[in-house]
Every structure is written in C-alpha cells, then in structure tokens.
C-alpha cells in the first residue's frame, strides 16, 4: 500500500535530500507519529487509517515545527493532507518555519473523511495518494439557523462542559506562542473549572484569527465534545468576508488585524 509515497520517500532519503520523513506508523494495531530516517523502515508507513480512513490524524505540522527548530539547517519530508499543508503555509507566514526546508508529500482525502472533517479543501497542492473529492457545504449551518439569544444560551451550555484540559491548544498546529494568554491569571482564573465563561473560549477564538487553518484537530481532542470547530469556522468566515483573508491559502501576511487600515463595515 502507498507505494508511490514509499518510493518517493525512499528516493528522498537515499539521496540525502531530506534528513527524515515525518509521517505516521502502524504499531500493534495503533497509529502513531514517526520520523522515518532510513528507507528500511518505510514499510511500516501509515497514512492514518484507524477505524475510518484518516482518523488517526496527528498534528504533524506542529511536530515538524519542533523538529525544524531543534535541527537547524536540516530538511525534512512530511506527509500532508490538505489541512497539514495549510498549517505549513500559515506557520511560514508567521515566521515559525522555513518552507525551503520542508518537502511535502501529499495525500488527498476521501469524501468520507472530508465530510467527517467538514472540510472545504480536502487536498494539498499536489498528492501521490487519493483522488480529489468535492466536499459538501462545510459550514455549520445548524448554528446560523438559531437566533442570537438561543445561540448564546447554547454556547454557554457548551462552554460550561469545559474541563480546561488545554487539549484544544496543545494539539493545534497554529498554537505556537511561548506564553499563552489562556494561562495568564489576568485572563483565566487559576485552579477553577469550568474556566471563566466565555473568556477562555472567546480569547482563543480571537487569537486564531489569521491562524486557524480549519483542520479540526482541536474538536477531535476535546474530551467535553464542545463544537469548537463551529466557533472557529464562524471566526474564519467573518475574517474572510470582511478582510478577504483565509489562513493557510496563499497566506502572505500574518493576520489582517496586523494592518492599520480603514475598519470594515459594521458586522
């Protein structure tokens, strides 16, 4: 399986073009992230098929950021789905990584995966595995249909379930700050759950402007099943409509909020 990827990685590793290939590996029936450093081990390659295709997704772009920082000057290959590639582009725009040192090896997601992820762009720029599928409308319409008072009430009920595990932040490829506002006593009271409502979740949502690449890893990691995706999708939607800005897609600058311009028309 995945012969095209294996052949390409073997070539890249043998010629020394890359120092390692960051992807996934099957081990004892589980899928885990792994850095392949020699062609001999590439037979264990997995592209993340757990129960359903692609559900063994890990924050590979985040791991790569760490590898690039720890091994200055080296180049790495990385397995990318559409979301991973968007994360790489956004990370480059935020000066976290140098794309010259990254060789993406693409996988295009299946329709099943794209629907499960509510993904608008389920493929990277180029891919060696999979077919391009047309995703269904990925917007969280069920929230839009409700009026503001009802929405407020529902979000409050969702946020109250938060156990403040910080999983949403820890797994997010775009959360790279050295100091996190969500750990600042000025924003979030220490030692209390649920965290301050709705500060905790809205601070994070605002900080994702220009960053969130709509990968859905946060929602998958949330033990309280809070529909975080709907929140960040809404923020992304406002940013796109008002500023014509989408993170991870031809991203040239960090965030539209970093520019001093005329304010957009009232929302």
């Amino acid at each position: 399986m995945y012969d095209a990827i294996k052949d390409r990685v073997t070539e890249l590793l043998s010629t020394g073009e890359i120092k390692g290939f960051l992807a996934l590996k099957s081990e004892n029936g589980h899928i885990i992230p792994h850095l392949y450093v020699s062609p001999e081990e590439i037979d264990q390659l997995s592209i993340g098929d757990g129960g359903t295709e692609g559900d063994g997704r890990y924050p590979l772009a985040k791991i790569l950021t760490m590898l690039l920082k720890n091994h200055a000057g080296e180049r790495f290959g990385i397995l990318v789905r559409g979301c991973d590639q968007r994360a790489l582009k956004a990370l480059a725009a935020w000066n976290q990584i140098d794309l010259e040192r990254v060789v993406p090896i693409g996988v295009s997601c299946t329709e099943e995966r794209a629907t499960a992820c509510a993904c608008a762009l389920p493929y990277p720029d180029e891919w060696l595995e999979g077919e391009q599928v047309a995703p269904e409308d990925p917007r969280p319409v069920e929230w839009e249909e409700k009026g503001p008072p009802q929405r407020l009430e529902l979000w409050r009920a969702e946020f109250e379930k938060c156990i403040k595990c910080y999983g949403c932040r820890n797994i997010c490829p775009m959360c790279f700050c050295k100091e996190c506002s969500l750990e600042s006593a000025d924003v979030v009271t220490k030692g209390e759950i649920p965290p301050d409502l709705p500060m905790f979740h809205l601070v994070r949502a605002l900080h994702m402007i220009g960053r969130c690449v709509d990968c859905g890893l946060c929602e998958e990691a949330c033990p309280a099943n809070i529909p975080l995706r709907a929140l960040y999708k809404k923020v992304n939607d406002i940013v796109e409509t008002r500023f014509q800005f989408r993170s991870g897609i031809d991203q040239k600058e960090q965030s539209p909020l970093h520019k001093i311009v005329e304010p957009p028309a009232a929302i």
Binding site: K19, G20, L22, E27, N28, G29, H30, I31, I32, P33, H34, L35, V37, G50, G51, D55, G56, R57, Y58, P59, I63, M66, L67, N70, H71, E74, I163, K164, C165, Y166, G167, N170, I171, E220, A221, C222, P223
Partner: protein, 135 residues
C-alpha cells in the same frame, strides 16, 4: 537524529487512556493522546497531557529518603525497607493492626494492588485498604 513516539498507558489514574510519549534524541519532550485508543479516542485530561514532565524532572525522587532529626536523608533500599518493617512492627505491637492503613495506587498494576491488599490483610491484619485518590 531520532524522533519517535512511544505508545503507552497514562499512569495518573485508573481510566487507562492511551498516549504517545514524544522522544527527541533520547529526551522525553511531549505527550500526544493516542487517536486510535478505544478508551480515550484522541483525548486526554490536563494531567495526561503533561505526564512527560515528571519523568525527567529534577525534583523527582529517585532514591528512598528517611527523615532523620527532622531532615530527609538519602538511604539505600535495604535501609529504607528495614526501617519500614521495624516501624510497622512497633506500631502494630503498641497500637494494634487497625492503627495502620494502606493506600493503593492507580499508578501501579492490578497485581501490585492485589499484593498490597494481601499484605495489609494477611501480614499486618487490617482491612484498612483504600485508594490513593482518597488520601
């Protein structure tokens, strides 16, 4: 250069969440929830997310300590075990078996918890066995 993740089980409570310990060049640097583990399905609590931190922490106690004249002093395992045995015997003699209690742990295996229960009941003679979470 070496980056790998080691699949293991969280040692903090009895749930048994699966996690991947991230190892970079021989150092433990992070934790990721196992996405394929049927118990936690890619999720962890705040303790699980930070479990890598205690392993190499400089404050971690790696040798037995005995309090002598008010200060904790490093001791050998033999000395520590002899001391524990003699004190347990003394306390049992002076105050009876039920003056002693045993706290088992979610961090160890079922078999080890069985052993501590057996030790409490058969060797010391008390039913005072509880879980560390009720300490």
């Amino acid at each position: 250069m070496d980056y790998k993740t080691v699949l293991t089980t969280c040692a903090y409570c009895g749930c048994g969440c699966g996690l991947c310990l991230e190892v970079l060049d021989g150092r433990l640097i992070g934790t990721l929830p196992s996405k394929t583990n049927p118990i936690n399905e890619g999720k962890l609590c705040v303790k699980g997310w930070n479990i890598h931190e205690f392993v190499q922490h400089p404050d971690r106690i790696t040798k037995p300590l005995i309090r002598k004249n008010g200060a904790l002093v490093e001791a050998s395992w033999d000395e520590a075990l002899d001391f524990t045995v003699s004190r347990l015997k003394e306390i049992k003699e002076d105050h009876g078996s039920d003056s002693i209690a045993f706290l088992a742990s979610a961090k160890v295996t079922n078999e080890e918890n069985y052993l501590i229960m057996k030790f409490a009941r058969a060797a010391v003679g008390t039913n005072n066995v509880d879980h560390c979470a009720r300490l």
